[in-house]
Each structure stands twice: as structure tokens, then as C-alpha cells.
């Protein structure tokens, strides 16, 4: 066992292009409750908000409140994940998800009228993206 580990370490130290991807694949950040909870919240908010598209002016279903909460959570997740060790593989998709939520928020703040179709398709994209990420990070090894 010790010989195997020493061999792997020596190969990794030499920068062997064959071994390095194996090492990279082995070193994955463990499952993180906070990360999982936040991506789940974004997905759930997107699902909850979608039926309210097109009726955003009817209180208490002010859609911007949901969008703002989704945006806050996406930003929190983006910042939270940024410096977790061995977490590079999650950072990119999480940042892209934040970008989509941010576009939605900016449009609702900028435009007086946002089309129902835009709202539904955008929220569906956010829900789909969050689900993909949730599936992947949910399978991470428990610490």
C-alpha cells in the first residue's frame, strides 16, 4: 500500500501528464450541506416563481420579491463556493447560474413590462441549471 502511494506521489511530483488528471479527479471537495441547501433554494424559488409569471403586479405575488430572494441566494452561493478548497468544478456552473439569475433581476428592475414567456423560460433555465448542479454536488463523498 505504501509503495503504491509513494509511486503515485512520485509520478505526480514529476508532473506526469497521465497521472495528473487521475489525481485531479481524486481530489474533489466533499459534500457541503450549505452549498447543497443554497442550490436547492435557488431551484425551489425558480419553481415557485414560474406560475406567477405574467401576474407580477398582483399583490402579494410581487414577482420581484421572489427574484430578489433568488438573487440574494445565488450571490451568497457564488461567494460561499469561491474559496472552498478543491471546489473548482462547482465554481464555474454556480457562477453561470448566478449570471442567469442576475440577468433576470436586471430585466425586472430595468423594464416596466417583462413578457410572460421570457419569465417562464428564464425561470425554467434557472431551475434546470440548479437541478443539474444539485445532482452533481449531491453525489459528492460525505466528509
Amino acid at each position: 500500500m505504501r509503495n503504491i502511494i509513494i509511486g503515485l506521489v512520485l509520478l505526480a511530483m514529476t508532473g506526469c501528464s497521465v497521472v495528473q488528471p487521475v489525481i485531479d479527479r481524486f481530489t474533489i471537495a466533499p459534500f457541503d450541506n450549505n452549498e447543497y441547501a443554497m442550490i436547492n433554494k435557488i431551484r425551489t424559488l425558480a419553481i415557485q416563481t414560474k406560475p406567477k409569471c405574467g401576474i407580477e403586479n398582483i399583490a402579494p405575488f410581487a414577482i420581484l420579491d421572489y427574484v430578489n430572494e433568488m438573487h440574494d441566494t445565488a450571490l451568497l452561493l457564488k461567494n460561499y463556493s469561491q474559496y472552498l478548497p478543491k471546489n473548482e468544478q462547482s465554481i464555474k456552473p454556480i457562477n453561470l447560474t448566478y449570471q442567469m439569475v442576475d440577468e433576470l433581476k436586471v430585466r425586472y428592475e430595468k423594464e416596466k413590462k417583462v413578457s410572460k414567456t421570457y419569465c417562464e423560460l428564464k425561470l425554467q433555465s434557472i431551475a434546470d441549471a440548479s437541478e443539474s448542479i444539485q445532482q452533481a454536488i449531491g453525489k459528492r463523498p460525505r466528509p
Binding site: M1, I4, V22, D24, R25, F26, I28, Q89, S90, K92, P93, L96, T97, Q99, M100, E103, R107, V114, S115, K116, T117, Y118, L121, K122, Q124, S125, D128, A129, E131, S132, I133, Q135, A136, I137, K139, R140, P141
Partner: protein, 71 residues
């Protein structure tokens, strides 16, 4: 499930074209959603890679455990 997500992306592309043709989206909204499809595809790719790496990791752990048992 990840494979299903790729189908979702394809379905969204078709739906988007249809909705724009029917005038249910402004040009600006349409452009943003078209770009969104690429973003969604990238997210799905990254999530799929992460899942694949988790499978490889499991394989490596199993190989080490077998080697340990044989030693």
C-alpha cells in the same frame, strides 16, 4: 437524469423559436434567451464532468482497497 437535461435544452431551443415567431418575446428577450441556451449547456457539461469524476474517484478507491486486500 443529466441526459434528460440535454433534451430539455433542445426542447427549450425549439420552444424559443416558436414563441419568438408568434411575437410573444421582444427581440432583446429572445437574444438573451438564445445566449442562455449556451450557458445552460455549459452548466450541464460541467455537472456531467463532476459526476464522471466522482465515478472515477470511486473506481480509484475500489482499486486501492483491492490492492490493500491483496497486500
Amino acid at each position: 437524469m443529466i441526459a434528460n437535461q440535454f433534451q430539455v435544452v433542445a426542447l427549450q431551443a425549439n420552444q424559443l423559436q416558436k414563441e419568438f415567431a408568434e411575437g410573444k418575446l421582444t427581440e432583446d428577450e429572445y437574444k438573451e434567451l438564445v445566449l442562455n441556451i449556451g450557458v445552460l449547456q455549459a452548466i450541464n457539461d460541467d455537472a456531467a464532468n463532476l459526476q464522471e469524476n466522482l465515478v472515477y474517484r470511486e473506481m480509484i478507491i475500489n482499486a486501492i482497497n483491492i490492492a490493500k486486500a491483496l497486500a
